[in-house]
């Protein structure tokens, strides 16, 4: 008999409508589960139990009054701590914002609130979303539910771990270079990075403005679709946002052409990952898909271009943290410059400082053309390569991470090594395309392996339908018992 917290969001929504369970009961089960496993997982930075129960109570009152329910009514959705939640601490897992309470809500939060979704709490991440393992949090590292000696991936590590451990059915994360897809893959769940512009960034604490997107995590494809549908759409407060919507997702893969780019299956990818992904491709073939070999030659340069663009934008976005308006404030007994230096030196962690330094360097006088402009020009080349590839295929299949989840502490010492884990995911952010990560097998020790589906802009429906076909064919995705 399934525990309440083990159900998917889609199932819970049906149970609510069938009056088999109340919203308060769902929230209580969620809060209970969090209490049960948090010491092992460490996914949450803030748990908002009282607020959550109040929200659930309101939903139950609506049900009792016979009011129509929005799709996410009464469903707990945990939120990555770089998404501003009005009146609730939003730290970005940084000392710099340790006690910051935003006076306003991110647009995605307004949308969730309008649907009556429940906020159980804020989730751990790599500081300011910079990292691939969730070890760069100022507060604590989050653990992978599949093996708590290992990382859950990052930067949305808390989001992935909380969903994978059944603490919550749904979570929101953000993705700049793989920060949704990587942890989804390490934790054996489904994660979607939407097309750039499909989800409003208003209220998402900026890392790299031209690459960041908020996206959903769930244990099933339908759940991810449910959450994406609720958050996507044009927002007049975000000048980079576009019209986007999602209808019903039907499982479909027959007749679709799957592009397999050779550059993504090179020596850097472990044998077991390749095996799993090729295996999944075979399954999709069996379901009626055609496989096409394609080439994306600029993949080699994408990582470098990504680091230039993202650190340049980050160095500018993070300049506002100066101890004057909010957040951590350093020395006040000296000059203004002393305040700036002490605030930023003590408020930021090592990885954040490294990226700010790199970004400042690539934008500085004499280097702009050689680095930043060059990287932006390359961005156009990469985008065009994908567009050309999509002339010959309907979606592209690649691995997500080169390996399964590594051990805590294993990679922190070498930044370049850490950066190399992003090689399969960054191109998708650079090109602004949607990328979906879903489980496709396990490696040694039963550690999850994910595959990535990439589509043309605004093809989320297509990616989700292929994923749904696959999910059905393999009998659903395994959930970690904890």
């Amino acid at each position: 008999m399934k525990k309440l917290y083990e159900h998917s969001a889609t199932e819970l929504a049906a149970m609510l409508r069938a009056k088999d369970v109340s919203a308060v009961e769902i929230t209580k089960a969620t809060l209970g589960r969090i209490e049960e496993v948090e010491s092992k997982v460490d996914a949450f930075l803030t748990v908002t139990a009282e607020q959550a129960l109040q929200q659930a109570q309101q939903v139950d009152e609506s049900i009792a009054a016979g009011k129509p329910l929005a799709p996410l009514a009464g469903i707990p959705v945990a939120i990555k701590d770089n998404i501003c939640t009005k009146g609730v601490r939003t730290t970005c897992a940084s000392r710099m914002l340790e006690n910051f309470v935003p006076p306003y809500n991110a647009t995605v939060m307004e949308k969730l609130a309008a649907q009556g979704a429940v906020l159980p709490g804020k989730l751990n991440m790599d500081e300011f979303a910079m990292g691939g393992s969730c070890e760069n949090s100022y507060f604590k590292p989050t653990k992978n539910p599949w093996d708590t000696a290992r990382v859950p991936g990052g930067s949305s590590g808390g989001s992935a771990a909380s969903v994978a451990s059944c603490e919550v059915p749904l979570a929101l994360g953000s993705d700049t270079g793989g920060s949704i897809r990587c942890p989804a893959s390490f934790c054996g769940i489904v994660g979607l990075k939407p097309t750039y512009g499909a989800v409003s960034r208003y209220g998402l604490v900026a890392f790299a403005s031209s690459l960041d997107q908020i996206g959903p995590f769930g244990r099933t494809v339908d759940d991810v679709a449910l959450l994406y549908r609720a958050i996507c759409g044009h927002d007049p407060k975000d000048a980079t946002s576009r019209e986007a919507a999602l209808g019903e997702v039907e499982a479909k893969v027959k007749g679709l052409r799957l592009g397999v780019p050779k550059e993504y299956f090179g020596d850097g990818i472990s044998a077991e990952v390749k095996t799993a992904v090729y295996g999944a491709i075979e399954t999709l073939k069996g379901l009626g898909a055609d496989v096409v070999e394609i080439s994306l030659p600029s993949t080699d340069y994408a990582l470098a271009a990504y680091y230039i663009i993202s650190s340049a934008e980050a160095s500018s976005n993070l300049a506002r943290y100066d101890g004057v308006k909010y957040g951590f404030s350093g020395r006040r007994d000296g000059t203004l410059n002393d305040l700036y230096l002490s605030t930023r030196s003590e408020g930021f962690g090592a990885e954040v400082k490294r990226r700010i330094m790199l970004g400042t360097h690539v934008l500085s006088s004499g280097y702009y053309d050689a680095y930043y402009k060059r990287a932006k020009l390359l961005q156009n080349v990469i985008a065009k390569e994908f567009a050309d590839a999509f002339e010959n295929c309907d979606l592209i299949v690649t691995p997500v991470n080169p390996t399964t989840a590594f051990k805590l502490g294993e990679k922190v010492s070498d930044p370049v090594q850490m950066y190399a884990t992003d090689v399969c995911t960054v191109t998708v952010n650079i090109a602004g395309l949607p990328g979906l990560s879903l489980p496709c097998g396990t490696g040694e020790g039963g550690l999850p392996i994910g595959m990535q589906l990439i589509g043309p802009k605004f093809s989320e429906a297509r990616l989700l339908s292929v994923a749904k076909s696959y999910e059905t064919a393999v009998g659903g995705f395994a959930v970690k018992e904890m």
Binding site: N82, I83, C84, T90, C92, L97, F100, P102, P103, Y104, A106, R201, Y202, G203, L204, V205, A206, A208, S209, S210, P236, K237, D238, A239, T240, A312, E313, S316, A319, R320, D322, V324, K325, Y326, R332, L336, Y340, T360, L363, S364, S365, Y368, Y372
Partner: protein, 480 residues
């Protein structure tokens, strides 16, 4: 001033646009509010907030571009200028770097009797920073963010100005154009127009420019004039003493009449400009650009020259009229009605009417005076129905109540008394009351007649016809 040297000046004018809202958020764009009451998470640079560009800012800027004969870049973007300062919440200013909205323009400026063409390099849009308040009763410096995000246009001139006089005239014309277009309050004293002054000197006849110094904190037209004179002198003295001019930013201290070093080139900031990724390329359509051009009124310089040519006005008077758009519009309407001399209308406008407005610190539009009524009043004077003196009373009443002059004359009984028989009694009484004056006149002090006529005017409550009175007074004295 050393005649072997030539002064070269370039001006960077920042003008606050009078849009209803700030450039990137919906906060009200208003001067003089209580500190930090016109702020929101966007203009305060809170984490996660994003800018959205105000359409009206672009339109106002394009209008200015047309007024300064610029090419409009219909496809453009905004860039970040990165530096740290407490009045800059995001630690970058959103501005425009390499693709300004308008460029390659010029402005014809009246300098004394000449018209000089000054090149305009570019006009771009950007956001204003907050205000720092220095008050010794506090331990630190206070920051007011009301002004953060107020839209600015920056107008950069070519280094075509050659004297403090030219610079002042250029700045005044720019300010008048802003008022004509209705896109800015253009008040230097409130900071809605600010000017940075770049000055260099070079030997007369040299083709290369000298090294320039930039002066900030130049807060009035007069200050611009004085700052240029001082800085040119300072630079020439340095050169004369065998030194070289270093590229510097200096602060102008008007009370002390000198410029002080702020920062040198070595301390110069590296702003690390790059396109703002929160704002995409935007397009101003050709239709919109044309429509905005068609909406421009006749501009100050053109208007001044037209007044000089069409109405044989002195340049000084023409400028006095054209420098204030409301006054110029009023004048144009009045002249169009016809029936009196344009010069007369002009005289009343720049004379009595402006004096009254200045005394009361109000604008023409704050009064009830209409061009129609002014013309009618002038016609009454021309006909001799009222004297000039009485007209002043009529004018005051027209401005206050908006009544027609004819009506006012009747109500107040101001009609000029032209009829000699009516005036005889007045003349006789005045001469009787002032025997000494009569005596003086008879003894040869002929200018006493003016006094006697004045007394008659007084006695007639301004309604006497002065010319007629004068004749009568002289005739009466003869008889005595």
């Amino acid at each position: 001033m050393n005649n072997n040297f030539e002064t070269v000046i370039g001006l960077e004018v920042h003008a606050e646009l009078n849009t209803k809202t700030k450039i990137f958020c919906g906060c009200e764009n208003r001067f003089g509010a209580e500190v930090n009451t016109l702020c929101c998470p966007v203009c305060m640079g809170y984490p996660g907030t994003l800018p959205v560009l105000n359409q009206q800012v672009v339109e106002s800027a394009v209008k200015m571009g047309h007024a300064l004969n610029c090419t409009i870049n219909g496809v453009t973007k905004q860039d970040r200028k990165n530096y740290f300062y407490p009045d800059l919440p995001k630690a970058y200013q959103i501005s425009q770097f390499d693709v300004p909205l308008c460029e390659h323009g010029y402005l014809d400026v009246l300098v004394g009797e000449d018209v000089k063409r000054i090149g305009v390099t570019r006009i771009h849009i950007e956001e204003d920073a907050g205000k720092l308040i220095h008050d010794d009763s506090f331990d630190g410096t206070l920051c007011d963010y009301n002004r953060c995000g107020v839209p600015l246009i920056e107008i950069v001139s070519e280094p075509d100005l050659r004297s403090a006089e030219e610079a002042k005239a250029y700045l005044e014309t720019i300010t008048t154009i802003l008022l004509y277009l209705g896109i800015s309050d253009a008040k230097m004293q409130e900071g809605s127009v600010r000017c940075d002054v770049n000055v260099s000197v070079r030997p007369r006849g040299a083709s290369e420019f000298g090294t320039r110094c930039e002066m900030k904190n130049v807060n009035s037209f007069g200050a611009v004039y004085r700052a240029i004179l001082y800085e040119a002198e300072r630079q020439m003295e340095v050169i004369a003493a065998g030194g070289t001019i270093h590229q510097e930013t200096r602060r102008w201290d008007d009370p002390k009449n000198k410029s002080i070093l702020m920062r040198s080139k070595e301390d110069a900031q590296d702003y690390r400009y790059f396109p703002d990724p929160d704002l995409l390329t935007f397009i101003v359509s050709d239709e919109k650009i044309s429509a905005l051009k068609a909406s421009l009124p006749e501009l100050p310089t053109e208007k001044t020259l037209r007044y000089v040519n069409d109405y044989s006005m002195q340049k000084v008077d023409a400028q006095l009229l054209s420098v204030n758009k409301a006054r110029a519009d009023f004048f144009d309407s009045a002249v169009e009605l016809g029936g009196c001399e344009p010069k007369t209308v002009a005289n009343w406008l720049v004379g009595d009417i402006t004096r009254i407005l200045n005394d009361r610190r109000i604008e023409l539009t704050d009064t009830a005076l209409t061009p129609q009524h002014l013309v009618e009043m002038i016609k009454l004077i021309d006909k001799g129905t009222i004297s000039n003196t009485a007209a002043k009373t009529v004018l005051e009443e027209m401005m206050a109540s908006g009544k027609a002059p004819q009506q006012i004359v009747e109500e107040k009984g101001l009609a000029q008394i032209n009829d000699s028989s009516a005036l005889v009694a007045i003349v006789d009484k005045v001469l009787a009351d002032n025997p000494k004056a009569v005596e003086d006149y008879k003894n040869g002090k002929t200018n006493v007649a003016g006094f006697l006529v004045g007394q008659c005017m007084k006695a007639s409550r301004g309604q006497g016809n002065p010319a007629a009175l004068r004749d009568m007074v002289l005739a009466a004295i003869e008889k005595l």
